[in-house]
């Protein structure tokens, strides 16, 4: 067989594999996962990835909110969207009122829902000197009425002589703030009934003649009276608590689940592919070496292999991640330690057959080194098997990592699909009906696994029609 002949054979094989239904659907799903990976790397801010387990980062988000598209699923359902308006959404006005520089921020929002917002929060961050600025919040309603709901100075600033050292102060005003209730007290006589002052969001968003939601355009006006030209408003936000949010909703810790799902894709692909490629390569070489060399050497290698196969993998994954560590790299390493043994056994039995073929004997007589014979003459014959084994090992690795994460032994610093399900299970999400917390991560794990399983079985069915079906589908968990 000449080189060009074998190359064209290989091309033919690849073409035949790519024409199977299984391979087409497998690569299609893999394409979606790759697109998610690229999207996560480019568009999702790295902050949200590294801050996944920091509750402070997610405080502006709603707690266990369903995805916002649920409204279109059920006719008549009109749950309020969680609205976060930041500096970029605001109209800024800088003026000077009686010599005092003021910064005002106008936030327009269209409130078109049947139910009240759950609460509201005003976020702000200011840099100021000795004299504390005053913050005032007004709201103008669709019916033209205007309420001044908050007016208060910030805590006094740095007392130092050094004018240049401005202190940065960040805080939040919650709808439960006492002074908001006191301010709203002044407007109760506008209403035909006595509004519930303990729920300011209800009063602000109610019609004056009856207690139902007043729909339409609201305008929040946040004004900062700065007593120094050096003072600066760094950030200001209006947050209106809702019941639905974003593409995939949020969990109990207010995290945006879509970010976890998107970031899960590169993590799972990394673990799956790295573990599968390394363990199949190691297993292949190990088995080929044992089978090719034969004798005592073979026996010793196979004894070790038998032992690794009979060890309870799950126990060792648990113990290793407790004692040595559970970073994503270590977990991948553990998966390799236990993943190579099955393929080694297959490779050995194949090497026993191939080593007696004439061309191998010939190159042996010509004095080629053993390792060279294995790499150059035996391994290429087994390339289809190698690729099939890699593809079929990926789901097992992804599943094993997800299972470790699920029992709470995954990498604690990053979001993985398994750890999202761990959090969901700890919060009894299933019994509480929080389906958006459970469905997406599991579907992602399954589709990542299925895509590789389909590709693997396509390679197997084309290259080895009678296949070792059940042999290669070993799962760790």
């Amino acid at each position: 067989m000449t080189a060009s002949e074998s190359a064209s054979n290989f091309n033919l094989l690849v073409r035949r594999i790519l024409h199977t239904k299984a391979a087409i659907s497998g690569f299609f799903i893999l394409g979606i996962l790759t697109a998610m990976t690229i999207y996560a790397l480019i568009a999702v801010p790295l902050d949200s990835f590294s801050q996944w387990n920091d509750p402070g980062f997610w405080i502006d988000y709603p707690k266990s909110a369903a995805p916002s598209w649920v409204n279109s699923l059920q006719p008549g359902s009109n749950l309020p969207n969680h609205i976060i308006l930041g500096l970029t959404d605001a109209k800024t006005q800088n003026s000077s009122l009686g010599g005092i520089p003021t910064n005002s921020f106008l936030f327009n929002l269209d409130f078109d829902y049947n139910t009240y917002p759950t609460d509201f929060i005003f976020d702000y961050c200011l840099r100021y000197g000795e004299i504390p600025p005053v913050i005032q919040v007004d709201v103008t309603r669709p019916d033209g009425k205007s309420f001044m709901i908050y007016n208060s100075p910030l805590p006094s600033g740095a007392q130092s002589e050094d004018r240049s050292s401005l202190t940065e102060y960040c805080s939040r005003i919650f709808s439960t703030d006492d002074s908001i209730r006191d301010n709203l007290q002044l407007y109760t006589n506008l209403f035909d009934y006595s509004p519930d002052l303990s729920l300011p969001q209800k009063m602000i968003f109610s019609q004056i003649d009856e207690e139902v939601v007043l729909r339409g355009k609201y305008q929040f006006n946040i004004t900062y009276y700065l007593f120094d030209t050096e003072d600066k408003v760094e950030d200001t936000k209006v947050i209106l608590g809702g019941k639905v949010y974003g593409l995939m909703g949020t969990d109990d810790l207010r995290r945006d689940l879509s970010i976890g799902i998107f970031w899960g894709a590169p993590v799972a692909l990394f673990v799956g592919l790295t573990a599968a490629i390394s363990s199949v390569t190691i297993g292949m070489l190990y088995g080929l070496l044992a089978g090719y060399k034969g004798g005592r050497f073979d026996e010793a290698l196979m004894r070790v292999n038998d032992l690794v196969i009979s060890l309870p993998t799950f126990v060792f994954l648990v113990i290793l991640s407790i004692t040595i560590g559970s970073s994503i790299y270590l977990i991948t390493l553990f998966l390799v330690i236990f993943g190579w043994s099955g393929i080694a056994r297959v490779a050995r039995s194949l090497a026993l057959q191939i080593k007696n073929l004439q061309y191998v004997e010939a190159s042996k007589l010509m004095g080629e080194r053993d390792i060279k014979i294995i790499l150059r003459h035996i391994l290429p014959q087994l390339l289809p098997l190698t690729f099939a084994s890699i593809a079929l090992a990926v789901p097992a690795a992804i599943l094993a990592e997800a299972t470790l994460s699920f029992i709470g032994l995954g990498d604690p610093s990053i979001p993985t699909w398994g750890s999202i399900l761990h959090d969901a299970n700890t919060a009894s999400a299933a019994a509480r009906g929080l389906w958006w917390w459970i469905l997406p991560p599991g579907i992602m794990i399954a589709s990542a696994g299925v895509s590789f399983a389909l590709i693997g079985s396509a390679i197997e069915s084309v290259t080895n029609p009678r296949g070792g079906g059940s042999q290669s589908k070993v799962r760790f968990t």
């Binding site: 309870p312 029992i407 969901a424 019994a431 509480r432 459970i438 991560p441 059940s470």
Partner: protein, 349 residues
């Protein structure tokens, strides 16, 4: 017969060796952590005892000296003055673990109030075995019939869909399917309880019934996840036998189809089916461990899950040891059955 007995002895010895090696590696990994744990506990016990003691001390330093002396006495008593890797202590610990003397849990107690790890585990073990064996029996029966039927009707819609489901369900996370079951049957339909820990006390005459009722949902999950894979394994090997000449000859002789299928084909395919099924079974052991955590089934798997959350090392060691035992026992049974069905195995060894 003596041949077979020799084989049984040899296989059992090898599997016991696997258990011992597993425990040795575990002890090496956990050694220093366990040491620290034991020393801390002894110290705490001595301080506690001193606080309740009636002995009067003149000065604080005198009291401290007394406590230090007690601690050193006690650590010497327990052998903690030597490191965990000293041969004497290592062999001792190894023996203790192997005989299920697993020390005390930090956070958990058994129903009877004992905090001995072995007591807690022995109380939980029957429930794990019940769930695991019941699901295994159900799945084996379904797998044998469905798989043989699929082999006979190769290429039919049923064959194709079950084979596809086998490939797909291998990628499904067991715990996820469990959560979906709770979502569907407990939350949406409200048929089964979400938590599988029965509410009646173990002494109640209806406890068993209640337990079985609570077992249905985890059981369905385990069966759903594995019956397609098992059927697929059976189908694969039976269809290989069906292609053989001697089966074709039997067909020509006019032996009824059903008889050929279930007595000749199935019997001849038995050894590889067994290995295939056992591979799947061993894989499903850790799955049933995880299922316990999802459904709150009061078995050893749930215990392990809870122990990991609070990092109760003795309990983690104990539960994983039980897992190892179940795992190795399954493999041993597989070896023996395989040798029984295929005499060549024991001859070659």
């Amino acid at each position: 017969m003596t041949d077979f007995l020799f084989f049984v002895a040899k296989t059992t010895a090898y599997r016991i060796l696997v258990v011992v090696i597993t425990v040795i590696i575990t002890l090496i990994l956990l050694g220093s952590a366990m040491d620290k744990l034991l020393t801390d506990r002894t110290r705490a016990e001595v301080v506690e005892a001193a606080a309740q003691d009636t002995i009067q001390f003149k000065t604080l330093s005198e009291r401290q000296d007394y406590i230090d002396e007690q601690i050193s006495l006690k650590t010497k008593d327990l052998g903690l003055d030597e490191p965990w890797y000293s041969p004497k202590r290592f062999v001792n610990t190894l023996f203790e673990v192997l005989t299920l003397d697993l020390g005390k849990s930090n956070f958990f107690t058994s129903d009877s109030g004992s905090s001995n790890v072995s007591d807690i585990i022995i109380e939980r073990l029957p429930k794990t075995v019940l769930l695991f064996t019941t699901s295994t029996v159900i799945v084996v029966v379904i797998g044998l019939f469905l798989g043989t039927y699929m082999a006979e009707k190769r290429g039919s819609a049923l064959d194709k869909s079950v084979s596809f489901a086998a490939v797909v369900s291998n990628s499904f996370a067991t715990f996820w399917v469990g959560m979906l079951m709770i979502l569907l049957f407990s939350f949406t339909l409200d048929i089964f309880p979400a938590r599988s820990t029965p509410l009646t006390s173990p002494g109640d005459p209806f406890y068993i019934l209640d337990l079985l009722y609570h077992m249905i949902l985890p059981l369905i999950t385990l069966v759903l996840l594995s019956f397609t894979v098992w059927s697929f394994v059976v189908r694969y090997f039976v269809s290989r036998v069906l292609d053989e000449d001697y089966i074709q000859a039997k067909r020509v002789m006019g032996i009824p189809k059903r008889k050929i299928l279930y007595s000749h084909a199935l019997k001849n395919a038995a050894p590889p089916i067994l290995t295939g099924i056992v591979t799947a079974l061993i894989a499903s052991i850790s799955g049933s461990f995880i299922v316990e955590a999802v459904f709150d089934w009061p078995g050893v798997g749930k215990l392990l899950y809870d122990a990991i959350i609070v990092m109760d090392i003795p309990l983690i060691l104990g539960s994983t040891y039980v897992f190892t035992l179940i795992y190795v026992m399954t493999m041993l049974i597989a070896d023996l059955l395989y040798a029984y069905f295929d005499p060549r195995v024991k001859m070659s060894s």
